[in-house]
């Protein structure tokens, strides 16, 4: 429906931006340009592509240029250079009339401090975008009501914005943006002004709505947890430059540089990492080849008290303990079959770490990670803790 392609989008604030543009092309940094020319680089040659119906999160700290970038997309700020392709049209070079059409029909914006008109009632606020298109009052009222209903604010239409709570006001902001039925939603720190619980509700609600609406959403935030929660893909910005674009997982597991790494340091990793990220290659014995002697030997080598048992197809059969294995040796038992225990917990690769905590909490054995009964890895307590501490070992294991 709408994919957006941004090429070399640049904004330089100051009197002679062309001068700064030249320096940027020479590869000078934001600070060097500021010192040399007094020009401020807002966004430095950003290029990315947003897919249809994707939630694309742009995140960065304040001053990283993320708010400028989103305003370059609908030209609330005029770009110094670069192109913004939407449905095959270059928005950056459009005339005012075409630009207005795009803003009216294709792109809506939701603002950090809601941007509601205080002298208009809720329904009049939601109608605004339709009103300026000259749609007649009854038709626009109907559309606005549908939009209000969508965000769960039916019944509030005749209140004024300051009679509503922050969360409700932002729902109005969202309803106003949706009333135009745009294909692209630009959300500038839309939930940042809300308190944490409400913010989480709004994030959930946006995700629910997105299932129905299938809009292309470009979401600006400085909050990594928020980015990870709602983003299909995340872009990290620093000093006006895009540092990394990737799925939440890619960003967490393979940070592009120190900056991103420091960013993701504080994340509650247990919510994002899954069994697949933290599992280790398992030590196993093959029930069809090995007996208790080999099992005991391997356990001694690796310092384990139990070892997993698989067959030729690496299907998990169970585990044996060191005690049972040495008993079997004394009694001259040569097969592992009789020693097998089956009370080992199994999870699949997608199980989040949080759930594994609950499982591993009161058992002695490791947790087996299986894919259609085939053993692919194990998780021991140490690996869990290492993953939380963002041990470098975890990263290399999964690299």
């Amino acid at each position: 429906m709408a994919n957006i392609k941004v090429e070399g989008l640049t904004k330089i604030f100051g009197k002679k931006p062309s001068q700064g543009m030249k320096l940027l092309k020479q590869g000078k940094s934001k600070d060097e340009i500021l010192n040399e020319t007094g020009l401020t680089v807002g966004v430095n040659q950003a290029s990315f592509e947003v897919q249809d119906s994707e939630i694309f999160v742009i995140m960065g700290l304040s001053g990283s240029g993320k708010s400028t970038l989103v305003r370059l997309l609908n030209r609330l700020i005029e770009p110094t250079a670069g192109k913004v392709w939407i449905d095959g049209e270059n928005l950056a070079e459009m005339n005012d009339k075409d630009l207005r059409e795009v803003r009216r029909k294709k792109m809506s914006m939701v603002f950090q401090k809601f941007g509601l008109f205080p002298f208009r009632t809720i329904i009049e606020n939601v109608e605004y975008g339709l009103e300026i298109q000259g749609i007649d009052p009854s038709a626009r009222k109907k559309k606005a009501m549908e939009s209000l209903e969508l965000v769960g604010l039916k019944g509030y239409e005749n209140q004024l914005p300051d009679q509503l709570s922050g969360g409700m006001q932002q729902r109005v902001g969202l309803a106003r943006a949706l009333a135009n039925d745009p294909s692209v939603l630009l959300m500038d720190e839309a939930f940042s002004a809300l308190d944490p619980l409400i913010r989480k509700d709004m994030q959930d609600e946006l995700l629910d709505l997105q299932v129905k609406m299938q809009k292309t959403i470009i979401f600006i935030t400085h909050d990594l947890d928020e980015a990870l929660r709602i983003g299909d893909r995340i872009t990290i910005m620093k000093d006006g430059e895009i540092v990394q674009v990737g799925t939440p997982e890619e960003i967490l597991v393979h940070p592009a540089d120190d900056y991103v790494e420091r960013f993701v340091e504080d994340v509650d990793r247990s919510k994002i990492l899954t069994a697949g990220h933290i599992m280790k290659r398992p030590e196993t014995v093959n029930i069809e080849k090995h007996g208790p002697r080999v099992a005991l030997e391997r356990m001694r080598e690796e310092g384990l008290s139990t070892i997993l048992v698989v067959d030729n197809q690496r299907n998990l059969k169970g585990y044996v303990s060191a005690d049972d294995a040495s008993m079997a040796l004394k009694n001259d038992v040569n097969s592992l079959q009789s020693l097998l225990k089956n009370d080992i917990p199994k999870v699949d690769k997608e199980t989040p770490m949080q759930e594994i905590f609950a499982i591993i909490h009161d058992i002695q054995t490791p947790v087996a990670v299986v894919e259609n009964d085939r053993l692919v890895g194990i998780i021991v307590r140490g690996a869990l803790i290492a993953a939380l501490a963002q041990d470098s070992e975890v990263k290399t294991e999964n690299a």
Binding site: R103, S108, M109, G115
Partner: protein, 279 residues
């Protein structure tokens, strides 16, 4: 050392310039003087022909509703206006009121658009700002001289002088009010594809309303003070009574006429402010 050059003939230049203006634009000034003059006289006479009781009740009723159904200003208006009538100054009041009203309306009609222009254009802002400073700081009496040259004596030059003196606050505060509209609201308006006009009328002017009204209140009060000064060039009204009392050193009549102006000022001021307070 300071005498390195002879006196610059600024006074002469100004006299010549005003003389040139007067003769060159007399085709413009004369019809204004005639038509606007007779329109003002007609307005004043119309108001004067309405029985004072009706006017007093109308003003009181207006005060009652504009202040949100409170009796204070309404009661004050009844007593105050009756007192002016009682002192035999009703006709003078009518003239003063007509002058203030017309001067204010013209000031607002000119001031608001100029203020909008200044808020939209940096160049206009830079050019007009010193002009406004000049208009406000030059002693008001000075405007009377060219006013007489252009329009003779009477009500028309009075309105002209008060226009120059009273317009700046409306211009300034309209400019300020629009510039103070929160960026996010302007952005919201733009982001939904408003045209410049839609943005102005649907967002900026409503948001700036309180500030603009404060400017208008100032303009009306300045117009009132100028109308008194304009009595020196023959504008009729309460000011003329003050002036003639001054010339004859009559404390009593001077005080009574002055009191009339104060009463009118209070009523106008509270009325224009109340419009603002209302949600």
């Amino acid at each position: 050392m300071l005498n390195f050059m002879p006196q610059i003939p600024i006074a002469q230049w100004t006299t010549d310039f005003v003389g040139w203006l007067t003769s060159t634009f007399s085709f413009l000034f004369n019809p204004i003087k005639d038509h606007f003059g007779s329109f003002m006289a007609w307005t004043a006479n119309t108001i004067y022909s309405i029985p004072p009781v009706i006017i007093i009740l109308l003003v009181a009723g207006l005060a009652f509703f504009i202040t949100g159904k409170k009796f204070g200003l309404a009661a004050f208006s009844i007593v105050g206006l009756w007192l002016i009538y009682n002192q035999g100054l009703w006709e003078e009041l009518t003239f003063t009121f007509t002058l203030v009203m017309l001067a204010s309306v013209l000031s607002i009609l000119i001031g608001v658009p100029v203020g909008i222009l200044m808020s939209k254009s940096k160049t206009a802002d830079a050019l007009l700002r010193p002009v406004l400073d000049f208009m406000q700081t030059m002693p008001a009496f000075v405007y009377l001289i060219p006013a007489v040259a252009f329009f003779g004596i009477g009500m028309v030059p009075g309105v002209f002088a008060s226009l120059i003196f009273a317009t700046p606050p409306t211009v300034r505060l309209t400019n300020l009010g629009i510039r103070q509209v929160p960026t996010e609201l302007v952005e919201a308006s733009d982001a939904f594809g408003s045209t410049g006009q839609q943005k102005l009328f649907k967002v900026e002017l409503p948001m700036a309303r309180t500030t603009i009204m404060a400017g208008i209140n100032q303009t009306v009060m300045l117009a009132l003070s100028m109308v008194v000064i304009a009595s020196m060039i023959g504008a009729p009204g309460l000011g003329r009574e003050v002036l003639s009392a001054l010339q004859r050193a009559q404390v009593g009549p001077g005080f009574v006429a002055g009191l009339g102006i104060v009463i009118l000022a209070i009523i106008i001021d509270r009325l224009t402010q109340s419009v603002n307070d209302k949600k």
